[in-house]
Symmetry: C2
Subunit: 375 residues, 2 copies
């Protein structure tokens, strides 16, 4: 039996907030937490070479089980030596369970105790995704951190449905753990559900800890609820999880969300926002968001973000980036994605440094102050 | 007056063919000839960072006057410090004259002695492109090698029209030389026209040499004529040009065309083929062309071209490239373009080496032999 090298060290607990500094050890490299994971849905972080991802400072990326199961298929990826070899990325990969994507299909899926049956968004073919199959797929991909198969409950939802679903997700989580027992090569994270119901969140957190996982996530957030409610759910939910395990809030979020998530004790984040926004010309800067297609940037010789030292900001002007974007050039997506992900990585690096220096609350204050100033 | 540093040294003349080894010196760097110039239409070689272009070995790129005039506009580019600064490329740039694109507009343009009036393909706005304006645009862009404004004659065409057009192009060439006299910072190349009429080609070559240019191009080729006719036109046309100047066949071509062009005495080439084909999944290898979307590559762990040592071939499988292409991922264009341009640059490097070693004809034979073998 191959023993997992997965390990989490809590290096520092902020005294003024719930912020934590940590270190995840995996066979494929270390991850400094709090961390942000760029999303590489189909085995590529859209527009970026793996080398660029490393240059940007990404220590782990996320890949989507649902998408890779449908295309090119997990068996093919396994045959090709696993996702790391396939996509030329040798650092850790976290795979989601496919649950979120399946449940996003709405009318195209149906849930039973066994799992979720759904129709492919690509060709309408019918599939049944079970906890066991989700584990099989993630293991075939060669994931370093596997997520349990769960139901992401829509918001709002009936309390009774939330209770039933949360209990079912707990039973599914147990079935996942049975496939990937503690000490396996891949780490397995449980996902707390419970909708926006505090008692169910508590119950879910307890159910998962009874089973026991290498890490814990809050699921079912960033699903359309008010930001303040999301923060409340983090504030309530994160302390329910073991101090000694990494805590991950799935699918979150904006730079503000990351700062607030860290303040409430979160160690890991992922979101398509920096990459998807980049392709739409929406760029993150230390002074807030900026839409590069605006006419005011037509002859703007300034770098995108004068406070940024990324490859894009040190080599190109806003005028050039606007030209590429309005001309629909491939390089627009490449450069914009590079910058946005760098911004996110730098934000996390700044957060970590401030926790280490005991100045996280000051960092947070400065973060908001800068954004109020004009670009 | 700024004296041009442009200079061409003919280093070696092959004894078995018209192939020549040369060296172009410009203020922005040297170019080993025979050379292939990747096309960066709108101030970007689609999908590639300038750093990648250098890694691939590109010593000069081509940019399109027509496109940059319309978007973002040459005045804006000038205001941004010129095209080199704008796009972060510090090696030489050759700009075409806009003529070819304007004449491609067909019904949307009209030719007079003054120039060519046309409607923008972007917004239908009306413009008059004259030899003087073409020079103004190319100078504003900061071009290192400026091409004279000429008419690219369609094929087939009436002999009378070809004669009139060729004479007009000669008068236009003179007007261009008047704007950019010999010894200017930018080099100016004349373009031989004359359709497929040998006597008019000869006349055009003589008219241009009478004016005198830093280099000479054959225009009006690769416009739909038979390949054998194109080769005949090269064979006839290239020796009409001064031995001591660089000779450029515009818009050519396939790998075979390059080898045959060199054999006939050509020093410079440009073509959208490697970049455009890359985006369509058509890839060049030492064994011939390959369409990456084919099902047979689904689980092919081999590199794209086992004989290639480019970044793509040393890091990715055909299966991964096929997956990216069928998934319409941005990285498909990025990696495919990288490989195709590397293939072209390596081909030219191989050609140059063989000329130097006096083995060009052997190289040419091997080139064809390899392509007859199976991939």
């Amino acid at each position: 039996m191959i023993l997992s090298l997965f390990n989490f060290a809590l290096l520092q607990q902020d005294t003024d907030s719930e912020a934590r500094l940590g270190h995840i050890y995996t066979e494929r490299g270390a991850i400094d937490t709090p961390t942000f994971m760029p999303v590489g849905t189909l085995g590529t972080v859209k527009g970026l070479l793996p080398e660029a991802l490393k240059e940007i400072g990404a220590q782990i990326i996320l890949a989507n089980t649902y998408h890779l199961y449908l295309r090119p298929g997990h068996q093919l990826v396994k045959q090709m030596g696993g996702l790391h070899d396939f996509m030329h990325w040798d650092r850790p990969i976290l795979t989601d369970s496919g649950g979120f994507q399946v449940f996003s299909l709405g009318a195209l899926r149906k849930i039973t105790e066994q799992g979720a049956s759904f129709q492919s968004h690509l060709d309408g073919s019918k599939h049944l995704l079970t906890p066991e199959l989700s584990m099989e797929i993630q293991l075939a991909l060669g994931s370093d951190i596997v997520m349990v198969f769960d139901e992401c409950i829509p918001h709002p939802a009936e309390p009774e449905y939330i209770a039933d679903s949360t209990n079912r997700s707990a039973r599914w989580a147990k079935r996942c753990r049975d496939v990937i027992p503690a000490g396996s090569k891949a780490a397995l994270f449980g996902i707390v559900q419970g909708g926006m119901e505090l008692d169910l969140r508590k119950q879910s957190a307890e159910q998962l800890q009874e089973i026991g996982f290498e890490g814990y996530a809050l699921g079912g957030l960033s699903v359309g609820e008010e930001t303040s409610l999301m923060y409340d759910m983090m504030e309530y939910g994160l302390p329910l999880l073991p101090r000694t395990s990494p805590r991950y809030v799935m699918g979150v979020g904006t730079p503000e969300n990351l700062v607030e998530g860290v303040a409430r004790g979160c160690d890991m984040f992922d979101c398509v926002m920096p990459t998807r926004n980049a392709r739409n010309g929406m760029l993150f800067t230390n002074f807030g968001k900026l839409n590069i297609k605006q006419a005011r940037f037509r002859d703007d010789q300034q770098p995108l973000d004068p406070d940024c030292d990324c490859y894009v900001c040190t080599h190109y002007s806003r005028a050039y980036l606007r030209h590429l974007y309005t001309s629909k050039e491939i390089l627009a997506s490449v450069l914009n994605t590079h910058h946005n992900l760098y911004y996110y990585q730098q934000l996390m690096a700044g957060i970590r440094q401030s926790i280490e220096q005991g100045t996280f609350l000051t960092f947070r204050k400065e973060f908001y102050k800068k954004r109020e100033s004009t670009s």
